[in-house]
Symmetry: none
Subunit: 184 residues, 4 copies
DNA sequence: TATGAATGAGGATTCATTCAT
DNA sequence: AATGAATGAATCCTCATTCAT
């Protein structure tokens, strides 16, 4: 890849991140291009679909989140604490990225890549933590990691727009519920 | 109101309900009018804003849901059972009305009336049930009824599109979590 | 004509006059009907075209204006004074009726009846005054009464919307010009 | 600017000029685009508001008119002749551009830029000529240049639609009136 | 005769996407 | 490889006019 192409790609990622914060992940292509100082065609060259752009923008943070899983499990006092810390991390990520939680739904055709990426990368991590936590409290699984992850994601939708809505509290309650059922 | 006007209004409500399921509550006015077999102007006559149409479409069911609260409290074996039955009812309502859960977010400008209506009508009902349940298990409140209701609503988003996602299970876990914290 | 029909027609004229002042002579039919407390169909029954309604609304005042011509000629010190007083009267009428001066242009199809009525009724009056004034100052005619009337009307367009525009002054200057050319 | 963009802009100006003559300056965007052979979006790219398009269409002629003022003052036998020649020029411009005179009214929201442009550009020119003419005939001013310019503009409204209406004659009478009042 | 519900043409505007330069 | 001009589908909303009741 030519040096200028790489520079453009970097500029686009930064611009998109900034615009996504302001206007959500459905912001007009033109706005992103303008902020990056490139033509719209350049966006399409680097990221043929919007979903690919969104994935690229958040890749670093998703990776960081994924990497945090094993580390937290090793460092935390208990597996439950590790799970709680990890979902708190995930919640913070989603809530600060305007519209991202909603985009995880995968409904609309274009967001499939985003949905897949999140699931592929984070469900295994979440699964490890959940499994360890369940074992440590001697509970049986009531939900799988996919459901838990998606539930957490859903609870974060719209959190940034509503000062009375406390997504983080609800998420911790959901964890409590998931770990609460005593093993028979 | 003239008989034909009433017939049109009814046709519009049914058409809108059907189109909302398919295309969400932001579906084009023209599509709703076409399905109802009326002109677009007729929609604007009966429901000057989109929000009023959405509220009208779901009013019956919201009222039924609100009415069910006190009844369940009286009929159920325990307050917790009443709360669980009621949220199950609410979940069933939201999940079968594709796109409704998402519309409950007050984000988009036009849906504010909808958001208000849901909150005004259901938060008090939810609050009664929650309060009774908390008291019966001798727990302190960790969330208010608004947060609980909105959390339940959020957990239902996209549930109809994903066979692997079990919103009802997650909602019951959330209730478990909300009732789990021992008092004092 | 039945008594109720006459009552409706009267109500419509008053309502239209009021609405025209507020919103101009192109105000929505519905607004006029609503203010009159009748259905829209009733407007169409009484006044099939908008032009006929406008004519009817202003008939009294146009007649009063026409009648004022001979009277002013008889009462004024000089024919020129009579002409000046009469155009001042006409100007006051036009300026206070929002949009009426513009509607006198026979451009748009619907306003033909209005245009015709004004011309038929007022050009002769204006002509008498102009002729007498020209004779009294021993000037030759440089414009006919039709041109003078229409010129005065045009000068009044938009006068109510622009505090810096003094239609009345300009009109008097136009009269001065029309009487200024010395007869050979 | 790319050659094709410049070609489109030129085509748009010509198309708009033609359509304005036929349908007035409020002609549908679609009609202008169709005549220019471009998409509607292209109009919005080049001229974000209707007012900007109107100004662009008439800029050349307004500038020519403005430039003619000082030249006429220098070349004419008397300042009055210069003023008369200049307003005749202005009248010819307005009358041949059907609908332009009407658009000079600042009424409709979108045409404000047009109104401003005309006033800013032509009132000073008109003022110089008027002042010189008044001085040369030893008359005191009875109107300012803004009123005179707007009056001339108003007299031209609808002139192209009415063969019996002689705007040019009326305008010269208005000038006569404006210069007639003897000083002292 | 009166009502006002219904129609639907008409016009503005936005933006994703393509492709000539 | 990059640009950004152009396209035009999609959608909203208003209101004159007709006509069933």
């Amino acid at each position: 890849m030519r040096v200028d192409a790489r520079r453009n790609e970097q500029a686009l990622l930064e611009a998109a991140a900034a615009v996504f914060v302001t206007s959500g992940v459905d912001a007009p292509v033109r706005a992103i291009a303008a902020r990056a100082g490139v033509g719209m065609g350049t966006i399409y060259r680097h990221f043929p679909t919007r979903s690919e752009l969104v994935v690229a923008v958040y890749r670093h943070q998703v990776e960081a989140c994924a990497d945090a899983g094993p580390r937290l499990l090793a460092e935390s006092a208990t597996p439950e604490a590790a799970l709680r810390a990890w979902v708190a991390l995930f919640v913070e990520f989603l809530v600060t990225k305007h519209g991202l939680a909603g985009a995880l739904q995968g409904d609309s055709a274009g967001s499939d890549a985003l949905h897949s990426y999140f699931v592929d990368r984070l469900v295994p991590v979440c699964g490890s933590l959940l499994h360890a936590a369940l074992k440590s409290v001697d509970s049986a699984a009531t939900v799988d990691a996919y459901n838990l992850l998606k539930g957490v994601g859903n609870l974060c939708i719209g959190a940034a727009n509503d000062a009375n809505y406390e997504a983080d509290v609800l998420v911790q309650l959901l964890i409590s519920g998931a770990l609460a059922h005593e093993a028979g």
